[in-house]
Symmetry: C2
Subunit: 173 residues, 2 copies
């Protein structure tokens, strides 16, 4: 299954660190690309730096038009999942979502245009309480991939040896 993440409504400065966390989670939890409606060099640099050192094929594409991307994705056989606290319970829709071969996961900032709710195949809530788009994305991907995403190999120049105490990092070039 192919998974990309579309980050909507990024406001420079205010959302800088949250959007960076969304991108890092997308990469670490098995998405292949993040699309960003704005352009933010700081975020691009952070994510490219992580991908360079820690490995994997994660990509970032900035300055996209969200509507064009969603429509094109659906036209080419993909499905769109919009994560929102107003949506259906995750467990009620995860079965059909797992049958998709191409999923675009849409995560918004404060205000999401109503059209997003209509274009999405599924509006999905990770609980119906206010919390965080970073958390919603992580839990959605963890449930979607049933935990297997955390065992991915990234083959970067930096690699952590999991350990009960302290920090054990292997570095090779």
């Amino acid at each position: 299954m192919r998974v990309v993440v579309l980050r909507l409504g990024h406001r420079q400065e205010r959302d800088k660190r949250i959007t960076t966390h969304v991108g890092l989670v997308a990469r670490a939890f098995g998405a292949e690309e993040m699309l960003l409606t704005g352009i933010d060099r700081h975020i691009e640099e952070s994510l490219i730096d992580v991908a360079n050192r820690w490995g994997g094929d994660f990509r970032l594409r900035s300055g996209v038009n969200w509507k064009d991307e969603m429509v094109l994705w659906k036209k080419t056989g993909g499905n769109v999942v919009h994560l929102t606290m107003y949506g259906s319970n995750l467990m009620d829709v995860l079965g059909p979502i797992r049958n998709s071969e191409k999923i675009m996961i849409v995560v918004g900032a404060e205000k999401v245009p109503p059209e997003v709710f209509d274009v999405a195949d599924w509006n999905v809530a990770i609980g119906n309480q206010p919390h965080s788009e970073v958390a919603a994305l992580a839990v959605f991907l963890d449930r979607l991939f049933q935990g297997k995403e955390l065992a991915q190999e990234f083959l970067g120049s930096l690699r952590i040896l999991p350990s009960a105490r302290g920090k054990h990092v292997m570095e090779h070039h």
Copy 2:
């Protein structure tokens, strides 16, 4: 099982929104309290406002001394889980962690004092890739509570009716 979250090393301004997200996730995913080493009125107001409108008993305690809190927690029969990308694989330690009756989950910002690794009963990685303390906390709690935390009732004045399209919010006073 009682769960509290200790947020270390909050730097005002830089971490404002990330720490708010940590607090919102703690509440939404079943923790009863967040302890914060700094003092930040903005974060306090955001979290109290959410708890007032959306319900539940979540509390915030600011300006704590992290070492005193960890030591006291352990002295009174609690266990400490430190979430870190350098730690043991989640699945290798989740069994014993589930046997605890009182868990303090420690989440750091950039630099965590080495002593935290020593005082913690478990240093736990949600994957060994860099990502986000917000995501790590959410996935840890989701796995710990096996998804049941998302079905909690908060009994606030605002309540969402999950739905496939649009926003359906019930309000009562």
